[in-house]
Amino acid sequence: MSAVADKYPVLQGLGVEVISVSVDSHFVHKMWNDHELSKMVKGGVPFHMASDQAGNVGRAYGVWDENQGIELRGRFIIDPDGIIQAMEVLTPPVGRKFSESIRQIQAFQHVRASGGKEAMPAGWEPGKLTLKPGPELVGKVWEVWKPDME
């Protein structure tokens, strides 16, 4: 979570709010912030650290691990209409790649700004070619986009 806290200004620049969730109590969140995270991230954690001690939120999102009584690393991108646009769930030993979350947020924001008229090919990043699905593009993607453009 320190990686997300550290990059929070980038998210704010994109108009993104963050909520972190674990089964720890909000009191423990405070201790973690005060005694460790604030030493990694200047000013401490800048977003809501939610507590889900019964695992009910985790169950609803499919990240509750019944055997260990914890929540798996689940990351959800939710748009301004409250719709989940992307989800990624990892088992505990591997951390997320923050830049990939940013890339996906930028791609979904671009789709939204285009009114759904544009689609993002594999590996899309801001500034790269987008596709405009329509009758003219059917069977012609190969003319404008190739895998080495990823």
């Binding site: 963050v18 909520i19 748009d79 989940i84």
Partner: protein
């Protein structure tokens, strides 16, 4: 020989009968909350206690309507990744 109270067999078996395999204790399944999170669908709303910038208070997902939200679950505080 086990005493009986009314019709109850307090020993659990008829006298002289070999006890059957013990039945496993009844476990109550945790309250089933179906996973409803799907891409392209409404995010399940929730309210949860939270720590936020030095104070405690509830956080409600739907209060962030109109904004993009990055919702991150993780295994626990004071873990290593």
């Amino acid at each position: 020989m086990a005493e009986t109270v009314g019709c109850a067999r307090t020993s659990g078996t008829v006298s002289g009968e070999t006890p059957a395999e013990p039945t496993p204790p009844v476990t109550i399944a945790p309250k089933e909350i179906p996973m409803t999170a799907r891409v392209g669908q409404k995010a399940p709303d929730f309210t949860a206690p939270a720590y936020y910038k030095g104070s405690f208070g509830p956080v409600k997902l739907s209060d962030f309507a109109g904004k993009w939200v990055l919702l991150c679950f993780y295994p626990g505080d004071f873990t290593f990744v």
